[in-house]
């Protein structure tokens, strides 16, 4: 099934809606070992994306491009910049072509690799990258929104769980590797929350 501009726009709407509940929880998770802004930063980033009217794009690539620019102008935080950078990469990857849900796994994988190159983190460092990696794997062979949603939510839960007791090696929390054991990484937590929101109509 084709991935449409409408679906992207609806995803942004859902994510934006979900941030109302996620904001303070993500701030609190980041405050444990970081600077406590993950939630409020994402509210602004995703709010900016929603305001960029992705619905009015004439292609998937253009929609991702709008989201990228909105994200870039909303923040300079690590996660936000990586997130917006990933959108830019998706815009490039989907340029002049239609996109199928079956392509999503590869696209998420490409975004993951771009973020890795940009931010210098490795897989296993307990960052949002590990979440994207798990998601790319889970999306493999999924051909529509429903399948992708279910697989994505499962993968996100599993990955949070799997990483909870591992030490963090990147981002502000890297200075507290030991203390990070037992705590969810705020970037992973954010990603998981957003995947859940994308998969659930509201």
């Amino acid at each position: 099934m084709e991935l449409t501009v409408e679906q992207i726009a609806e995803g942004v709407r859902r994510a934006n809606h979900a941030m109302v509940d996620l904001e303070q929880a993500l701030n609190a998770a980041d405050a444990k070992l970081g600077d406590g802004d993950t939630g409020s930063m994402l509210v602004r980033v995703i709010g900016g994306m929603a305001a960029a009217a992705p619905k009015t794009a004439t292609s998937v690539s253009e929609a991702f491009g709008k989201l990228a620019r909105a994200g870039m102008s909303a923040t300079g935080s690590s996660l936000g910049t990586l997130f917006a950078g990933a959108m830019l990469l998706l815009a490039k990857q989907t340029k002049d072509r239609s996109v199928d849900w079956a392509d999503l796994s590869a696209l998420v994988g490409a975004a993951r690799d771009g973020m890795m190159a940009r931010g210098g983190a490795k897989l296993g460092d307990k960052t949002v990258l590990d979440m994207m990696d798990a998601l790319a794997a889970a999306l493999e062979g999924k051909t529509d929104a429903a399948q992708a949603g279910k697989a994505g939510v499962d993968a996100a839960e599993r990955t949070l769980e799997a990483y909870r007791d591992r030490p963090c090696k990147m981002g502000r929390a890297k200075f507290f590797s030991e203390k990070s054991v037992g705590l969810d990484d705020p970037g992973m937590l954010a990603f998981a929350g957003l995947v859940r929101a994308l998969a659930t109509a509201k």
């Binding site: 701030n27 406590g36 802004d37 509210v43 602004r44 870039m72 923040t75 935080s77 502000r172 200075f175």
Partner: protein, 331 residues
């Protein structure tokens, strides 16, 4: 913890409006007003010094735009790096044709945004170099300095790079001197109480009545280790010992910055400095141009940092050269 503010979403822009109203030597510029530059036009033929970083640290970063210091500064939201646009604009606005030194703290977001900005400007032919502040000894061992955070000591690099650029040094030389200043600076912080982000519901961490955090950063993040509240002299002793162990003095002179993080009375900074001075004297070090006050804050965080800047003749000359911005005047 209360804040005297309006909508948290406008915190940064309103503060910048007030800052520039109060200090006409500073001007907002850039498409979103997120660059502070000197009010007078860019000086042609001078290397531009650009910094940038999140808000919530005033006078850092943008307060140090001025003669003999920074030319421009990109400004992020509270504790967030500046975005790509503001970094690009800050670089362009500082361009006097002799290249740009990007001089900022070692944080992921800031690096990514300055890097992307640099890539996007490649076509415009502005030569850029980068020096990162990495003075916080608590955030990495002496063998992994590239991991360390940049904290209050960054202003010594501002001062030296700014003085060199003002004197007409070329980009490579300004870059060398900035890197040398960073290499000769060490900082450690202690926190007594956290701050609250404008958009957050709670302070960033809680400390018991008898706890302090050692190795604190400047973003409300907790310290690297927790300790019990001790007399100021004991805290000073530990700080100086750790600083001197990390970078043993090679010369006989140091500058000292006893920096308040936001809510520490000047009285208490002077009490701390008194002991720091004594310990340095005992180590055979003469203090040159001590700086005591709120130079780099973390909003209303309670605590202080101590920075040592080891001087040789070259660095001392740059440190003492005239400079002027709204929050620091030398000479």
């Amino acid at each position: 913890m209360k804040k005297l503010m309006n909508d948290p979403a406008h915190y940064v822009d309103e503060a910048l409006d007030g800052l520039t109203l109060a200090h006409p030597s500073l001007m907002r510029d850039g498409s979103a007003g997120r660059v502070i530059r000197r009010a007078e036009a860019t000086r042609k033929g001078k290397v531009g010094i650009v910094s940038g970083g999140g808000s919530g640290h005033l006078p850092l970063f943008c307060g140090y735009v001025g003669q003999g210091l920074l030319d421009t500064c990109s400004i992020g939201n509270v504790f967030e790096g500046p975005n790509v646009d503001s970094c690009m604009e800050a670089i362009r606005l500082a361009d006097g044709g002799q290249g740009i030194l990007r001089l900022y703290g070692n944080y992921g977001g800031d690096r990514m945004n300055f890097d992307i900005a640099g890539e996007m400007l490649e076509d415009e032919g502005i030569r850029c170099t980068t020096v990162l502040g990495t003075d916080d000894i608590a955030s990495g061992g002496p063998d992994e300095i590239e991991r360390r955070r940049g904290v209050a000591g960054l202003i010594y690099a501002y001062k030296c790079a700014g003085a060199a650029a003002e004197a007409g040094a070329h980009l490579e030389e300004v870059t060398r001197l900035a890197a040398k200043a960073v290499a000769m600076t060490r900082t450690i912080g202690v926190g007594l109480a956290a701050c609250r982000l404008p958009s957050a519901a709670r302070p960033s961490f809680e400390l018991g009545e008898n706890e302090i955090e050692m190795g604190i950063g400047i973003h409300g993040e907790p310290g690297i280790w927790r300790d019990t509240l001790r007399p100021s002299d004991a805290v000073a002793d530990e700080m100086v010992e750790r600083l001197l162990a990390d970078l043993p003095p090679s010369g006989a002179e140091v500058s000292v910055l006893v920096n308040g993080l936001g809510a520490t009375p000047l009285e208490e900074l002077f009490i701390l400095f008194r002991r720091v001075h004594k310990k340095l004297a005992e180590a055979g070090l003469r203090v040159v141009m001590p700086l005591i006050g709120n130079y780099v804050t973390s909003m209303e965080m309670q605590g202080a940092s101590v920075s040592l800047f080891h001087l040789d003749e070259e660095l001392k000359r740059l440190l003492l050269a005239p400079a002027e911005c709204p929050f620091w005047r030398v000479g």
